[in-house]
């Protein structure tokens, strides 16, 4: 069912006379999703998606064609279609397309896991989720409890006219629980370890065991109930301590996306938007305080943003985007990096072979500082601590943002105080990061998997991750 290397190379040879460059990908994507809700199995599905995709550069025109029929006949038909599409693009593409240099690679890579997600029966997965959710039921105000486990495996083959032949397989798991409490018009949701399916790692069942959702169930329930009666988080300006999980999403929205070079070049402006970080600002623009170091690192073992080669065939890399507060690099691909006079740093990926590879985040991490979280809290006279994302919104240049969190706590004279509900904070990206005056140490640093980053047309959801500690930001607007 998977095309042989000789087949792929034969098709690439047939494209070579007309194309400046061509590549072929094949993916087989396996997913299983189990969700329980209020003591019932709410959703149980298995999906297998196979696809081939052919990308061709003719003159200055890109063409791409894909099919779910992965037969040899379909592969040749798809390749011919890609050529036709590329020739059409060339009619309305007058700016030269330059590809950064690449070495040919032949390699095989697999992400590691100890317990195969598919070796655990559906019955065991349901039982685990029931054990994690049933203890949360009982109080009449708990309207809904739910838990879910997701399994994901993608096998990918890549061959290009640059001479590369790459086989990569990633295996990932995710899981989480939530409790919804309702009292009159008050609606509160509390989750563990994160909302929207929980946390995700490139591991096997051992990750679900490590999450130990059953152990956290009563804590989640109690916090959902407590939020019903908690005072509303105040409006005004406060020193804000952002917990690791929420800060991971802050990094995603306010650093990850604006450092995508395709956005900065205007290539994604119609849908996702542009970027306030323009190439002329490289090396000179102060993005954050001296404490702020943000790296892109596609090499972290066990993270869902990791791989060995991107979908241009460029090796995975680790590099700074923000170094000591200064904006120093973008996420790039082979056809965008020359725009800033650099070589690709290997961040081009597609959701599957049926989609065009575009610049995507890998693991975009705020590096840990050297201050224990307890010391950050202790040194805050009057502030708010927020944790776990509830809502997110940011403008088309990634400047003005607003985040809502599941929970907040008052900080008075260095101590955590009352729980607060419905906290919202807002700001301007560089002003916010420049106000960062304390970054948590490695003890509060964690890599969070985010499997649903949306970008492109048609929309592609990409699996990315963010390492983040807790950190403090001065004089942030809330409410």
């Amino acid at each position: 069912m998977k095309p042989e290397r000789a087949q792929l190379e034969d098709v690439l040879r047939s494209l070579a006379p007309a194309a400046r460059y061509a590549d072929i990908r094949h993916t087989a994507t396996h997913q299983q999703h189990v969700k329980v809700r209020n003591g019932e199995v709410d959703h149980l599905s298995s999906t297998v998606d196979r696809a081939i995709g052919v990308r061709v550069l003719v003159g200055n025109g890109w063409g791409f064609a894909a099919s779910s029929d992965v037969s040899e006949e379909s592969l040749r038909r798809t390749a011919a279609r890609a050529l036709e599409v590329a020739a059409a693009s060339n009619v309305a593409s007058t700016q030269p397309v330059t590809l950064s240099d690449i070495e040919p690679h032949v390699a095989k890579w697999e992400s590691a896991y100890r317990i195969d997600p598919w070796s655990i029966s559906i019955g065991q997965k349901i039982e685990h989720l029931m054990n994690a959710t049933e203890p949360m039921r009982g109080d009449a105000r708990i309207h809904q409890v739910s838990g879910e486990i997701s399994c994901y495996r993608q096998e990918k083959t890549f061959a290009s006219t640059a001479g590369s032949f790459l086989e990569q397989t990633t295996t990932q798991m995710g899981g989480g629980i939530e409790a919804v409490a309702i009292d009159g018009d008050e609606f509160q949701r509390r989750t563990y370890p994160n909302p929207f399916g929980g946390d995700f790692q490139a591991e096997g069942w051992e990750f679900i065991e490590r999450l130990d959702m059953p152990r956290k169930a009563l804590e989640v329930r109690d916090e959902a109930l407590a939020l019903l009666a908690a005072p509303k988080a105040p409006a005004g300006r406060f020193d804000l301590i952002v917990g690791s999980a929420q800060l991971a999403l802050q990094v995603h929205e306010s650093c990850g996306h604006p450092t995508e070079l395709d956005r900065a070049m205007g290539l994604e402006i119609s849908l996702a938007g542009g970027s306030f970080l323009q190439p002329a600002m490289l090396g000179t623009f102060r993005y954050g305080s001296d404490l702020v170091n943000i790296v892109a690192d596609a090499t972290i073992a066990g993270s869902i943003g990791s791989f060995a080669f991107d979908d241009d065939g460029v090796p995975a890399q680790r590099f700074h985007l923000i170094e000591n507060g200064m904006f120093v690099d973008y996420l790039t691909g082979r056809d965008t990096a020359p725009f800033i006079g650099r070589a690709s740093n290997g961040t081009v990926r597609a959701e599957s072979a049926a989609r065009i590879p575009i610049i995507r985040m890998t693991n975009i991490n705020l590096e840990p500082g050297d201050t224990p979280l307890a010391d950050i809290i202790a040194s805050t006279k009057r502030g708010i601590f927020v944790e776990t994302n509830k809502s997110w919104s940011i403008d088309d240049l990634r400047l003005n943002f607003q985040f809502g969190c599941e929970v907040a706590y008052e900080i008075e004279n260095g101590r955590l105080g009352r729980m607060l509900r419905n906290p919202l904070y807002t700001g301007n990206t560089p002003d916010f990061w420049r106000s960062c005056d304390a970054i948590g140490d490695r003890a509060s640093w964690q890599v969070w998997g985010l499997p649903n980053c949306g970008k492109g047309d048609p929309m592609q959801t990409m699996r990315v991750a963010h390492g983040a500690p807790a950190a403090r930001f001065r004089n942030v607007e809330m409410g």
């Binding site: 969700k35 019932e40 199995v41 959703h43 149980l44 599905s45 298995s46 999906t47 297998v48 998606d49 025109g61 890109w62 063409g63 791409f64 064609a65 894909a66 099919s67 992965v70 036709e84 599409v85 059409a88 693009s89 009619v91 309305a92 593409s93 007058t94 700016q95 559906i122 349901i126 309207h143 809904q144 919804v180 008050e186 609606f187 070049m265 205007g266 994604e268 402006i269 119609s270 849908l271 306030f276 049926a354 989609r355 065009i356 575009i358 809502s391 919104s393 940011i394 403008d395 088309d396 240049l397 400047l399 003005n400 607003q402 809502g404 807002t426 301007n428 002003d431 048609p458 929309m459």
Partner: protein
């Protein structure tokens, strides 16, 4: 009807339904007045749902040989065996009523060549070289088949043409969009002109605005994005069941403005004859003259909630348990120009960006920003361009404060919805809360 669907239903060896969808979609993306991505995709997938003792399991595949279909049936059956019976579920659709006769397919749209689209875009680029154009132009066709073990069989073809154009000038941008069943309804040159007009309007007059409550005039793309979120947090069977929707406790009650009517209507708008469970499509009022009528439901959740079926399943076993893919807001008797003339101080909004509706779902509190054409209206005239503004607003409140609705409506596509879109007018709403703005830092 394809043999694939029949083989799948046979392999289920139990009560079951299945859908087989094949698509041919062609998307040309452009930016900086260049084609930057151009794709053609032919894909097909089979989804099989098996019912065992009132419980359901779902499996999907893109490979259709006998061995893979048998494996898919095994997976779906295994899932059903581990699931619980759905309370009140009376089984899959049996009535097999006739479906409405609608025109959902246009042969010319299905056959538009990449070269034809490229030439149309090149013409648009060349007509206004002082501007930069970005956007996408998509055409495609699909064959949708579904059926079940009770003898229901449905098949229909559909096409779509969808374009968005952003024009970028020296001091601002403009936007225009269209979505229709036929490419004849999507004129690239006209969209380019509309976007260009917005990009250059009041380009020499820039003003600022302090946070506060203002009258807003919202164009159809702005409304459509709000409706996308209301679809998720308020209209679905799941949001009704879990209590997060403001529909809960309000069925039959007037909660919103009397001039606000919102229906799901696949008969008149982006026509399609049935939902994926095989139920005939019909006009379903969600909100009628401000009165909350019903959430949209799949068959199982209609049974579970004891509500009338609405024929709104679009993916077998989807956890939303119903979605409105053909949203139509009733038009009024006004025009955009009349709304501007009647406004003392307000904001004319082309489009929203990155709306989020999860802040406080019971009041449909949302936030987002404006983009691609935000204008200050003072004393009945458009007097200046504004920066992109952040707003934070309860939609329950907003749709209780509708001052005017235009007669003319526009069709807007959504990224998650291959079947339909949103048909919306221009509306004028009182007291929309502006909470911030886009500011570049030095």
């Amino acid at each position: 009807m394809s043999a694939i669907l029949e083989r799948a239903l046979e392999a289920a060896n139990a009560e079951a339904d299945a859908s087989y969808i094949s698509v041919d979609q062609n998307i040309t993306r452009f930016a900086n007045s260049q084609i930057i991505q151009n794709m053609s995709e032919e894909s097909a997938w089979l989804t099989l749902r098996v019912i065992v003792d009132g419980a359901m399991g779902v499996a999907t595949t893109t490979v259709f040989d006998d061995e893979e279909i048998a494996r898919t049936a095994d997976l779906a059956r295994e899932a059903a065996q581990h699931s619980n019976p759905i309370q009140g579920f009376k089984g899959l659709y049996r009535d097999n009523e006739p479906v409405p006769r609608v025109e959902s397919f246009d042969a010319r749209t299905a056959a538009v060549a990449p070269l034809e689209k490229a030439r149309a875009l090149r013409d648009m680029f060349d007509r206004a070289t002082q501007l930069q154009f970005a956007g996408s132009y998509s055409t495609g066709s699909a064959t949708v088949e579904c059926g079940n073990t009770h003898g229901v069989r449905r098949s229909a073809q559909m096409t779509h043409a969808d374009a968005t154009v952003i024009a970028i000038g020296g001091s601002g941008s403009g936007y225009a969009t269209a979505r229709e069943r036929s490419c004849d309804g999507v004129a690239i040159a006209a969209l380019g002109e509309e976007a260009a007009l917005k990009a250059t309007l009041a380009s020499d007059r820039l003003e600022d605005l302090e946070p506060g409550a203002y009258d807003v005039i919202l164009e159809p793309p702005a409304l459509a994005e709000v409706f996308d979120w209301m679809n998720m947090i308020a209209f679905t069977g799941q949001s009704f069941e879990d209590g997060s929707s403001f529909f809960v406790g309000n069925l039959g009650k007037r909660v919103l403005a009397e001039n606000f009517t919102l229906v799901d209507d696949a008969i008149e708008y982006m026509p399609f004859p049935f939902d994926i469970e095989g139920l005939p499509k019909r006009r379903v009022a969600l909100i009628e003259n401000g009165v909350i009528r019903t959430p949209v439901l799949d068959q199982a959740w209609a049974d579970r909630l004891g509500l009338a079926p609405t024929a709104n399943a679009w993916h077998l076993g989807a956890p939303d348990h119903g979605a409105a893919f053909h949203l139509v807001m009733a038009g009024g008797d006004s025009t955009r120009e009349e709304m501007i003339r009647s406004t003392k101080l307000g904001i004319w909004v082309t489009r929203f960006n990155y709306v989020n509706g999860l802040l406080e779902p019971k009041s449909a509190l949302m936030t987002g920003t404006t983009r691609d054409g935000t204008f200050l209206v003072r004393d009945g005239e458009v007097v200046a361009r504004l920066p992109n503004l952040r707003w934070t607003q309860s939609m329950v409140e907003a749709f209780s404060n509708i001052d005017a609705i235009s007669r003319e409506r526009r069709s807007v596509g959504t990224w998650y919805n291959m079947f339909g879109g949103t048909l919306a007018p221009v509306v004028k709403i009182r007291g929309w809360n502006i909470t911030g703005k886009q500011e570049q830092s030095a």
